[in-house]
Symmetry: C2
Subunit: 397 residues, 2 copies
């Protein structure tokens, strides 16, 4: 008999996907340029030329049986060493190649990291607002997600709620900074307090609680800031990274897990992920993509458009009287809606061909998310439409 659990999941359609499908249908009616679809987080800038050039060079110069042959099950050693050297150079942590596990994007990284440091029945703590895909990511491992309510003032961590939630069954904490959906960057103070809490609770329960840090937006940082690196604050950290946003190659599925040298069982965790791969059918990312990534590990696409767009949205929302936290990075902003029901707010916006995502599903009810990974020209055309929507629907805001 087929698996009823997965069959049942088919009827739970993602709100984001439904909105995006609506936008596509509406685009066919009125022209796609007239639908302001800010629902999906798809990078909108091209890959750096050097990435494609690396692939072309590999195809030309490498011996094909070797180039396209099986990778070692823990990843290509030179690739792992280049990633380790880059992280060490940038963040001062002495990573080595054996602590790096190349994966198919951040989703693959999280799938391995979660399975390595939890067992069925354990709980994994997530702080709202959070990426809703964490629910299937965590719950299909056999562990269970436990959501800590948001700090609704500034979308840092609600530490009172976190302390209460961190019971003995919590094996790991999964964070995402800069954050989807809020765009907020966890501050040094937040990361220090989190590390203190993890140490305290680990000592109290007699086992280390692991920190899994999901960082696909690490390179999209605004206002000239340097983003604090979570692994520098807590020993038992596994960083999950994706090049989807930094190199603008989400379809190529490339990322990694980086295990802190100070992490419990550090030297065993990557080999364990190799074992996990056998069961979940992962078995390394594509060789060509892995090698091309390694040659471009410190490069990024031109990400400046995201900051330009953020400023346009942020300034408008402030001007219109919205309560909104200024994003520190990503390509998201999450203002407070102008009525309590965020779904109703977004439905009204749809009448103006403005596609926003209600943030209740992200654990931030009463808010809405805008993904501004689009041309600035489109953002500029959207601004008067937003103003019109707000002034007509919420004249007394």
């Amino acid at each position: 008999m087929i698996n009823e659990q997965y069959l049942a999941m088919l009827s739970n359609k993602s709100v984001i996907r439904e909105l995006s499908e609506y936008a596509t249908r509406r685009g066919k009616e009125v022209g796609y340029e007239n639908v302001f679809d800010f629902s999906l987080g798809n990078p909108s800038v091209p890959v750096p030329d050097s990435f494609n050039e690396s692939i072309e060079k590999l195809l030309k110069e490498e011996e094909p049986v070797k180039l396209h042959g099986y990778s070692p099950s823990l990843g290509i050693p030179e690739v792992k060493e280049k990633v380790a050297a880059s992280l060490t150079e940038r963040f001062g942590i002495p990573y080595t190649g054996n602590l790096i596990f190349p994966t198919s994007g951040a989703a693959g990284a999280i799938a391995h990291a979660l399975r390595a440091v939890t067992k069925p029945g354990d709980e994994v703590l997530v702080f709202a607002p959070y990426f809703p895909e964490y629910v299937p990511y965590i719950n299909t491992t056999g562990a269970r997600i436990k959501v800590v309510p948001a700090d609704m003032e500034n979308f840092q961590i609600n530490f009172d709620a976190a302390e209460e939630a961190m019971t003995e069954n919590v094996a790991a904490v999964l964070i995402n900074t800069p954050n989807n959906p809020s765009g907020v960057l966890y501050s040094v103070e937040t990361l220090e307090k989190l590390a203190l809490l993890l140490k305290k609770k680990s000592a109290e329960y007699g086992h280390n609680i692991f920190l899994i840090s999901d960082e696909p937006y690490r390179e999209i940082i605004f206002d000239g800031c340097k983003a604090p690196y979570p692994a520098a604050f807590y020993d038992h950290t596994l960083v999950c990274y994706s090049f989807s946003k930094s190199l603008s190659i989400p379809g190529e599925r490339i990322g990694y897990v980086a295990v802190n040298p100070t992490c419990e069982q550090a030297e065993n965790l990557v080999p364990m992920m190799g074992q996990i791969s056998r069961g979940i059918g992962h078995n390394c990312p594509s060789s060509v993509i892995m090698l091309a990534m390694a040659e471009n590990v410190d490069k990024t696409a031109d990400l400046s458009v995201y900051e330009t767009n953020m400023n346009l949205f942020y300034n408008l929302f402030v001007e219109l009287g919205f309560k909104v936290v200024r994003p520190g990075g990503t390509f998201y902003i999450m203002p407070k809606a102008l009525e309590e029901d965020d779904v109703m707010f977004c439905k009204k916006a749809l009448q103006y061909d403005l596609v926003f995502v209600p943030a209740g599903g992200f654990g931030a009810p009463g808010h809405f998310r805008i993904a501004y990974c689009t041309d600035t020209e489109k953002v500029e055309r959207a601004l008067p439409r937003i103003r019109q929507f707000v002034e007509e629907c919420y004249p007394n805001r």
Copy 2:
């Protein structure tokens, strides 16, 4: 706390990998050309040029944001349609794009197919001799592998044992033809008998038993035969395919699941695999690789060397008095060892720098496997060494 199950797996080293590591060490001592390493099943012929040309063309001609962008979660529609059309043309089954799920090789395909048609606690039947990776593939889903002893005469299916093993808890049967490790191709008669048994037991237990057909060696067929296509024999079949061997690109991790149009819940199975992907972190193969595969779906590398090598080995083993079944495909042959203990036999062979794999771990005790995916020149140089080993160690065979 880290996951003890995966930690424990680290101490179970694969015999094949240990032998291969031995061969590498020995190669450093005496020169790699003097070690006859027939342990690993790595394709030895180059990819067809057209595959690399397809990648180069995609990089040159496609708009980069689209080319490297997220694929739809069930795979790129044009890719799915090309695969379906090719299978329909070749095997006469009316596949459509929505029945094809692109995956990261056969391992990814099996990971999805197994989870779609079993639930934790179910049993999955496997016929010896079998690929030992099936153990972690199956057991990490929550289902349990159940091995049916081999038909030691011809390595088709031992139907008496199969009938006995097919109890009510069996949700799926996983087959592999042409077979690793034996090289044997299941005959039309075998596939007909298997289909009859599956129908009978499905009726008896009131639920369909699914057939998962793992076919990475489908295109490596000898003696001008046409390989019977298992899905044509039984409605409820999921084909798991990999281009690793046919296109000689195992490192690129590309394959698919093809769901029979007549399969129970056919139209839901691929969307269910999309849900499974979210949990196991798979989320589509690389876009560039998927698109290049689609343009080369009917091509193969020059696979003729495998048949040449098979004939050299087969003829020698027959001449030396071995009991050996003639392979119908793959790049494996599995003769009966000249003593009961296959590990001891292989250890003696190692003294002659002949690296064979004892087949006890494949469910064929008393046999050994040779992987002849090497240059023919190396096979030719190995033959006198094998003769010497056999004549010196087993003079009275």
